[in-house]
């Protein structure tokens, strides 16, 4: 049995007009509607950071959540972090 990667299948199907999967930039009115409500100033700030810095920012945010969420829930503050 022949096996094909998804990219090969997409390439073969394209001439017949079959879209197997949406591409990253395929337009979608629902996504356009969501885009209008997104604060891209935060994103632009993130884009000025390195991957390493973005990772550190996520670590800091999750530590903050882990520390303070138990104050409003019954969660164990010692779990995981």
């Amino acid at each position: 049995m022949n096996t094909h990667s998804l990219d090969e299948l997409r390439e073969q199907a394209t001439p017949y007009g079959a879209a197997l999967l949406p591409t990253a930039d395929a337009p979608d009115p629902v996504l356009e509607a969501f885009k209008r409500d997104i604060d891209f100033s935060l994103v632009e700030k993130n884009l000025r950071l390195t991957t390493d810095e973005r990772a550190q920012q996520l670590v800091n945010a999750t530590r903050f959540i882990a520390k303070f969420r138990p104050l409003v829930t019954d969660e164990d503050p010692t779990a995981s972090l």
Partner: protein, 168 residues
């Protein structure tokens, strides 16, 4: 449970597990402002990698997430071979291990759509932004819609940036 990303990735690297980070963490590393609490990875289904993955997680109490307490579950090579995608809790937090992902296929399929990056104190493979959007769209989950919209915005900004003529 919130995942200790540094610990989780260190465990994978220490055991030389072949994996690609996808999901919310990938989104964050591409610039998303959404905060994720678990780690999603696609792992290679080779015999050797399954052996490494079993050994890597074994000491960290992996258990099926949302399974009733007391349900017998043994984390070993056989379990990984018999299954494909695992949603786990571990001592370092929630972890989704995917042998195959909708819209992206297997580790080998995704490999060409990933690159090595530095973060969380290690270097590891991260799915590229285009593919991440395809994965999120293919998953078809309503909760992902704002995230996909934001990722598309990032993609548009990147393309605009790379299309700009170099400054003199």
């Amino acid at each position: 449970m919130i995942t200790d990303f540094e610990k989780a990735l260190a465990v994978f690297m220490e055991h030389h597990v072949e994996f690609i980070v996808i999901g919310g963490v990938a989104g964050t590393l591409h610039g998303s402002a959404f905060i994720t609490q678990d780690l999603d990875v696609v792992y290679a289904r080779t015999r050797e990698n399954i052996r490494r993955l079993a050994a890597a997680l074994q000491p960290h109490s992996p258990y099926l997430r949302n399974a009733p307490a007391g349900l017998p579950f043994k984390w070993d090579e056989q379990t990984i071979r018999n299954g494909l995608n695992f949603t786990l809790t571990t001592a370092f937090g929630d972890l989704d291990l995917l042998g195959e992902v909708t819209g992206g296929g297997t580790y080998s399929d995704l490999f060409a759509h990933s690159k090595e990056v530095s973060g969380f104190g290690v270097r590891f493979r991260l799915v590229d932004l285009d593919k991440l959007i395809v994965l999120k769209r293919a998953a078809g989950r309503p909760k992902d819609l704002p995230v996909v919209a934001e990722l598309q915005g990032i993609l548009e900004r990147r393309r605009k940036q790379s299309a700009k003529p170099p400054e003199k």
